[in-house]
């Protein structure tokens, strides 16, 4: 037992604040958990999405491949279109994400007439080499992401994006 006496006022303060805090947290906890739910939701594993691109028709020149897939956004389901830039590196098929690593705009192959053999981002003139390597001195801070790639019956399938493995 400690010798410091707890006064009546202190005792009431502590008990009332304790009970009040318990009640308030019982009220607020469900609401806060409700609000932060998107943060705690487990990310869905990406399936491979079929495209209509024949692998035999690919060359060393990147081509734009659009693909559509069903997206479930909360209560809203829709078909959305994604894009990849695809080319052959020897026997290997490379599919790069068009999302600029500066601030998320969309890059184009040869979008800048002064640099026909680079990816170009029109927002802030970011540039990338063919393998996705960002050109030093332009805004992007990293190389373009790369898609997981699968080939079935000569057709290209695209999976999840991952950090560039070519560099």
């Amino acid at each position: 037992m400690s010798n410091t006496r707890v006064s009546r006022r202190q005792f009431l303060n502590y008990t009332l604040m304790g009970v009040g805090g318990f009640m308030a947290s019982g009220m607020l906890m469900p609401m806060i958990r409700f609000a932060v739910d998107p943060v705690l939701e487990a990310g869905a594993a990406g399936d491979y999405i079929p495209t209509s691109q024949k692998v035999s028709e690919l060359t060393e020149e990147p081509v734009r491949v659009d693909f559509t897939y069903d997206q479930v956004d909360g209560w809203y389901e829709s078909e959305v279109t994604g894009t990849a830039w695809v080319y052959k590196e020897g026997d290997k098929v490379v599919a790069l994400s068009p999302v600029c690593k500066h601030l998320g705009c969309t890059v184009n192959w040869g979008g800048d007439s002064a640099h026909p053999n680079q990816f170009f981002c029109p927002c802030h003139a970011g540039r990338y080499e063919k393998n996705g390597q960002n050109v030093p001195g332009t805004p992007p801070i990293g190389p373009l992401d790369e898609f997981d790639v699968k080939i079935e019956d000569d057709l290209l399938y695209l999976g999840a994006t991952k950090p560039n493995t070519l560099i």
Binding site: P30, M31, F34, A35, D37, G74, W75, Y76
Partner: protein, 224 residues
């Protein structure tokens, strides 16, 4: 630590008198349930306010998922109730609280009536209380449509027909509420949503402030 922060602010802004004005006030023996248990009837006003706070909080959180659009309203409610963690609880708080706040407000009204607390000099506070009652019923009526299920739709149809039966201006009230002279649809839902989350809560907060300032100025009415 907290004391030091308090002192720091108090030294600059002299907040103690403000705090005292809010927290320190007479609680006469005849309204204190610790003295006479039957005095619990004096708690209904405070309970109404407590549930109102829960309604405002849970409503704010519900709008993070709710969509006031005829295509998505029901689906977003279904989603937030069945897919989001604690969605059933948060929607449940708002759903049951909505009924409970009216029950509590009604009991508070009865208490004020039977203790004669509305009499001079408190007539103005009674009038403001009646306006709060009307606003609360409006919140209940507009909120009922928002889940956009069958019950909501047809209850609102009936409610709007009742409003339309007002002599002379009924038709105008109906169109003003529904946003269209014949359809109860997309425009009705957005209107009811706007009224439910912006207009009526703003009116309610103003009226509650007036209600509380008056009761603090006049004090609690004397014993029977």
């Amino acid at each position: 630590m907290l004391n030091k922060i308090y002192d720091w602010v108090d030294e600059r802004l002299d907040i103690t008198p403000i705090w005292r004005d809010i927290a320190d006030h007479e609680v006469p023996e005849h309204v204190n349930p610790a003295h006479h248990f039957s005095a619990f009837i004096y708690c209904f006003g405070g309970l109404t306010f407590f549930i109102t706070v829960i309604q405002i909080l849970s409503g704010m959180f519900l709008t993070m998922y709710y969509t006031p659009d005829i295509e998505n309203a029901w689906r977003s409610v279904y989603y937030l109730q069945n897919e989001v963690a604690f969605g059933e609880i948060v929607r449940g708080m708002h759903h049951w609280g909505a009924s409970l706040v009216i029950v509590m407000m009604f009991l508070h009204t009865l208490r004020v009536f039977f203790t004669g607390s509305y009499k001079k000099p408190r007539e103005l506070n009674w009038m403001v209380g009646v306006m709060i009652f009307v606003v609360m019923l409006g919140l209940g009526f507009t909120g009922y449509l928002l889940p956009w299920d069958m019950k909501a739709l047809f209850a609102t149809k009936v409610g709007i027909e009742i409003a339309a039966s007002v002599p002379f201006i009924g038709e105008w009230i109906k169109i003003l509420l529904a946003g269209d002279s014949t359809i109860l649809g997309a425009q009705t839902l957005t209107r009811f949503f706007a009224i439910h989350v912006f207009f009526l809560p703003a009116a309610l907060l103003g009226l509650l402030a007036a209600h509380f300032i008056m009761i603090r100025r006049q004090g609690i009415s004397g014993p029977l």
